[in-house]
Subunit: 512 residues, 4 copies
């Protein structure tokens, strides 16, 4: 894995060369709010991630070491809060009343404040050096190509732009309907939950936690945020940026911990709502533990259907390659399965996909480590699939070579396994595809979350301008849009003003 070693190496060499001007250099490359430099974090110069609670950055009794996914070096130490240390977090959450930090009838100036914070943060994040800072920081902990990492930061930046000026208060738009008599009117408000929790995964270290965090804040909630420790350094830095843009120190707590401690915190602090993004297994457990006071954006199993009309093969093979292998297939929306009408078999699609997959290389992280599954597990899964009659490896199917990815992570080439549909259907679970109902019918007969349809369809569009999230589940959470923020981070409250006057000549009626 010479390139990556040498990247580190060269960086170190460069650091030496530029010393004693290193400080100045830091100032050139690192934004003022930042406490780390993405390119300089290494085993010999590890970064520290802290917690934030009750307005202060704090450490903990324990450090949890994170290893560099590209070379296995311990390169980040995270101050993980222990079960015995959660009291300040519980106290902090409990300071937030049930009616929130603001709501349409209380402290409305805070809506404006969040408009201002968003304006400033959007502008700061939009500076080339800040975009670059976060893109590179994302790359260090959640390896993906620079383009993919940059896109994640840009989407986050656009999201902040969407809530400049008065747009936060516009989220709190209410409605009213005339009542039964003069002086009566019923009002439907969007009300905050008050103290809330946010738990987010490793694959989008910035976008997922930032968008949910801001959504929660906009609507008047006080969140405690926990990001997967492997990548929490990114949001730790982002919170510093937000503080610099005016985020009040009391409004957000930030905690690093293991799952057991977080579970304990949730049960003790009893947030009115918890947003969980992550695996379905944990989601279901949490849903039961929290008795349903939860919204979930769980892992998708994402599929694509190519109908009988063969067209635009070059374009579609490219979209398939990107949807399946960008970010090493670790997007929530990564294409897991491709249903292909037989007409496509002679179209050259699979050959083109093979070629495209072979362009991917570790050097530029167009393929990289898988943070949740080991190589061995992936091989085992593939071998199980290959036991199905008629199945075969189309391409890939082998571990990556010449790398220093640590064994706890996966390192596998972009791989496609062909399985005949008839065999899948023996399991009886996919009755939908048995009938030839491609096209529009599929939309009316499915409940998939965010769905793309049409010749330019893809599975991995997760921008800030359309709802992204599951469907068909009352606990399902969306991310990103005004609609998502309102539905996830607030509830309906009805107030009927009935201010009179009393009817003239009101007389006491009989009891009923």
């Amino acid at each position: 894995m010479s390139r990556l070693v040498s990247r580190r190496h060269l960086a170190a060499a460069a650091a030496l060369r530029r010393s004693p001007a290193a400080f100045a250099s830091r100032w050139l490359h690192t934004p003022a709010f930042a406490t780390v430099s993405p390119e300089e974090i290494s085993g010999s110069s590890p970064a520290e991630v802290q917690n934030f609670v009750q307005g202060k950055w704090i450490k903990s009794a324990n450090w949890n070491w994170i290893v560099d996914p590209l070379n296995g070096e311990k390169f980040i130490k995270v101050a993980e809060v222990q079960g015995s240390e959660i009291k300040p977090f519980v106290e902090s959450l409990s300071k937030c009343p049930k009616h929130g930090l603001h709501n349409p009838l209380r402290a409305p100036e805070r809506y404006l404040m969040y408009g201002d914070i968003s304006t400033k943060a959007a502008h700061m994040l939009g500076q080339p050096e800040v975009l670059d800072f976060f893109a590179k920081l994302v790359q260090r902990v959640s390896p993906k190509s620079y383009q993919q990492a940059l896109l994640e930061v840009q989407v986050s930046q656009k999201f902040l732009e969407n809530f400049c000026g008065d747009q936060v208060r516009f989220l709190a738009r209410s409605f009213a309907v005339p009542g039964n008599h003069v002086g009566q009117m019923s009002n439907g408000y969007r009300w905050p939950f008050g103290p809330v929790a946010i738990i987010t995964p490793f694959n989008f270290p910035l976008e997922i936690p930032l968008l949910q965090l801001m959504g929660a804040l906009y609507m008047g909630n006080k969140p405690v945020l926990k990001v997967d420790s492997k990548v929490s350094i990114v949001m730790e830095q982002m919170i510093r940026l937000l503080h610099e843009c005016g985020l009040p120190a009391e409004d957000v707590d930030f905690i690093n911990s293991d799952g057991i401690t977080m579970n304990k915190l949730l049960l003790e602090a009893n947030p009115k709502m918890t947003l969980f993004t992550g695996s379905s297994r944990v989601a279901e457990k949490l849903a039961a533990d929290l008795q349903g006071r939860i919204k979930l954006e769980d892992a998708g199993f994402d599929w694509k259907i190519l109908g009988p009309d063969v067209q635009e093969v070059d374009y579609i093979s490219w979209v398939c390659d990107q949807d399946a292998y960008a970010c090493s297939g670790q997007k929530c929306s990564a294409q897991s399965m491709l249903f292909m009408h037989k007409n496509w078999s002679s179209s050259g699609l699979l050959e083109k996909m093979k070629k495209l997959s072979e362009r991917r290389k570790l050097e530029d992280l167009t393929i990289g480590p898988v943070l949740t599954v080991t190589t061995a597990t992936m091989i085992e899964h593939m071998n199980n699939l290959l036991k199905i009659p008629g199945s075969k490896v189309l391409f890939g199917g082998e571990p990556l070579e010449n790398h220093s990815i640590p064994e706890i992570y996966g390192a596998f080439k972009p791989t496609a396994v062909f399985v005949p549909l008839v065999e899948i259907l023996k399991n009886g679970n996919f009755e939908l595809v048995t009938k030839e109902i491609f096209g529009q019918e599929v939309l009316g007969r499915s409940v998939n979350g965010t769905t793309y349809a049409g010749i330019r369809a893809r599975t991995t569009g997760a921008p800030q301008n359309h709802w992204f999230g599951p469907a068909g589940d009352p606990r399902g959470a969306g991310i990103g849009t005004p609609e998502a923020i309102k539905l996830v981070w607030s509830c309906h409250r009805e107030i009927i003003y009935d201010i009179g006057p009393l009817p003239k000549k009101w007389a006491l009626p009989a009891a009923t």
Copy 2:
């Protein structure tokens, strides 16, 4: 309890007199769809309640006898489905696909069908004899004054009127936002959950189950409905009315069972959503069992605040009396506590309330049996309150006399116990009221569900034109309005159409 006995008696006598013309008489008093006559149900002529599943009315291996709350006679037998008999219900639910019976892209003609069903049902229910039929039937099982029972039926009728014509399809209104390039547009739909369950309590035998049932159906779900067996006869009759108005037999199942069996059914049939209206204790258990796939409209603890401005004492004493004692205080919204500024102490308010409470009598059911708490329990609770220093009985505080209400139910006079606020506050739970923040401030600093504010405010407004339900809980369910139906009975689904064309001169980009 001579009056009630003689009511029975007279009815029986009348029945004898009019025999053999009884059949004709039934036709005069009982709507065509009905299988019971509210005034004739009695220990000697008991009514039967059946279940409906897979398009057929069915009985069960067991009858559960319901006793007349006014005289303890076994007067209704309910075919309660046993744990061993739930298979047809499980199968029936499983026939409904996850994408529902209809959705904005599938079977839209069903939205129109439900507009027609609502039109017909609204008209049928609006006929004086049908209003009367249901009001009297409600009275028999959930004793309240004729006025209160009639109001429940009228609200249900108005609700149906609200969804005549195209109004059901208007509930499925979606929105769309322009995409990034020609041919792309993102669409936000309201999507059904598919198979769902509805569990409702005894206090509003018609309004709660009917409104939730129709809401579920409008949005494309297939519900199984369970109403508290004590009162399920009312909805059993209503489903017959709905069938007559065109409700397809496959669209709704109706089950009578105990809680254990229903729990089993939920776990086996695994409805995508369950609406539960009832006690908080059961609600929390269900929420955990169903891992949060639930929405709740749980029992409220409802309070009223009288601020420092004393005015309109006659009117307010009447509202307090109605809010506290109508339906024997068994409305979800019944006034449980009244906070009164000291200025009111010399206003005569309490004296007026006492007088009003004394107008209530068993004869016209302006006071009646309490179906969930025994007399002994109420006395015990009162005695506990009276141990608080300074507390005292203002009025009531004694069991009803001269009645034949069975012992399993409560029979207690309208009662008010005074407790000094300072003592309540020793428990530390009501910090809100310590400060003199009466008026508008209270609204901004609370999360109560449906809230009335102003001189004409009450706690027990539960009509069809404004949201009724809790706030502050992500699982909270509303009832009644278009907003409530959309938020409770459907979820957001995002479909992005990206139909092209491809950009002219599209060329293969580098991998990312």
Copy 3:
């Protein structure tokens, strides 16, 4: 024209036969509110149409005779108000304040009243005998097939269903946005205009005036309604129905007059808004006279495009025939021009259309008199078209035969004239069609009002569930939907409540 003569004849004969039982017969066939019997109006038994103002039906100094479009007999006399008689109408309008008869803050119980009126009127109009009554009455004055006339009544009935119950008050839903400080909130209301006028044409004697009238009333306006005298008998009867359903006598005035008198009325009474449906020529004059206080739904010039994909020829020829010739082409949405891709020339489409057009016959009014253009004018227009090189008559092109349609009306067979596109384009006005941009592109590059797209597209869908009206004009009015009612019949009013409290420690700032 034997059939029609004999229809009259038979009716007369029947009338004789059933006398003296005529009264009983009237009761069988005519609804209680009605003052005419559609089948019995004739030259010998003419009907009378009156005016309604200030709560009373009134006549006028002059009768205007309407001739039967099928045989030229004077069969209806209309009490047309003269210029000298408009004073009561001016006074009546002026009694309505600028803030309307109701608005979200005033007399909200009137929203409920209109929900009730709509419920009752929907039910009454939905009775088979009432549907039949209005369908036949429409046929007598605006000849079209029974099916077409019935459809007009049914759409009107569905419209009324849409505004049952609380749906009228839901139209007055307002919104509010949090202000800059506690106590401030800005509210956007839909406010009525107050006194308004409605002027509607001959082609939909019931649907257009009824839908606009009710929309105006729902939002709190007081309308004076003028329908083309040729057909005003239909709305005269409908207003009687509405009165019976609870419409307050003071809420609507109904006037018959010529255009000059109506113009005078508008200038004197100065309604805050006038809705005009009719010819573009009159619309533009009125717009200037009323200085733009007008909304217009003017005559469309409606076209259909058949793109290069030839399919479903039978279906499409049927749609083309219906769109072009139903109601003798007198719908606002009638297909005036058909653009056909050359691929269709050998599809048999034109031959099929010819055959379908030949099914039409005067006997069942699938073709009938044209009320605004004489036969001679149509022939002249056709001859002008035929001067264009390459143009030809495809079918029709001749006057109807064997009829007694009076000369002031047109009587012409269903006709299609083919004109080569290249010739049309010489005029330079249709640059759009020069390029081969069929399909979706057309939608993005046009401003047509209500537009149907897709294989099942038609031009003449004018139901109650989607907006019908022009686009691209700030004066453009829609009809039918909640959206249309809100935009046409109300305006935005913003009220900012700023109820304090004042900031603590407010101190006098410097002047600015």
Copy 4:
């Protein structure tokens, strides 16, 4: 008027002193896009205002000289387009198709482009030196205090913030309702008008034209903008800023002309919509000329009511002073009349208002020239009022002294004239105030446009977050909010997709 003379004088002296470094100085004080320096414009160094059409800045055959409202010097020359020179403007407008430059189905990337332009412009305008530049430029042509001028710029800046990111495309949100059968769905879009015109007055040289201009552009229109020549220099500079932020040169034309020429342009270019802000007289004429294709935000006659509860006299006298005299009373929303309940007469309110008015001085422009009425006219008007029995001057009532305001403008002290209500009412026009219906009733019985109610109410709130504009007129235009932009700058277009499939077994029906 020594201070102002010396301001000029000092500026000139400074300019001399800093020469030859003037260029560098310009760079310090003047933004890069600017072609003028607000502090340096003078009779000896006059500024030039050009026109912009078809992508180019152009002059004209004629200069119109604007005099400095503070000293009468000719200090700005405006290239006013003559009647013979309008051809390029007509041609430019005609290049914009009726379907606009973009719409929800065409060129959606332009919505994003306008989000970007707004983001950049909001940021640029938010820079302290740019805020200062525009505030001072506004002061030079529309004299008001620095605070007031700055506020105008800040509101404009906030408005731009509101449409960052995706917020422009969110304006184009459409809705859809399920149709009658599979494949049918009706869609309501907001569609542009295409070529449009905007005409705005002198009093808010930046805010009014900028907000309307951007609203028009956001929705897809191509506007030609005409601002009162006296102040058009401000928007001329703003358009340069917008170009620098990415505004395409073809999207906006900017014209200076007299009213006659503009009228000619409107008639020849025939814009689909014209937004006019200005005097009611011109508005009505334009409305007739343009046959109602117009929306109006005309001069308000704004009043304030003080009800019987006397409170917060200091605060209210300050609000009254600001509402009446800030910007020398030239805001559209300036308080023209104050209705005062008699309870206030002994409150000291009028005395306090007098004192506050006397704080105003020409030096800081807290009082300044009136650009539309001469001093003589104001005196005449006052004298007419004083003929009313019982009326008297409360304060003011005299011309300003020691000033060099030119005679064509007005120079008058802040003035209040008391008129007994009983005398006003003799005219019979104010029946509302005869009854003692103060408070909430007033809102339900009025049609005033933007209305403030409550103890903190004012007349002159014209921010970017709530609708500002008249009510009660179908031509009424709002400014500022998303709601206003959508209703003013777009129209409803309905497209019904009916894409099939055909019903199975479709068979040819009979003709109807």
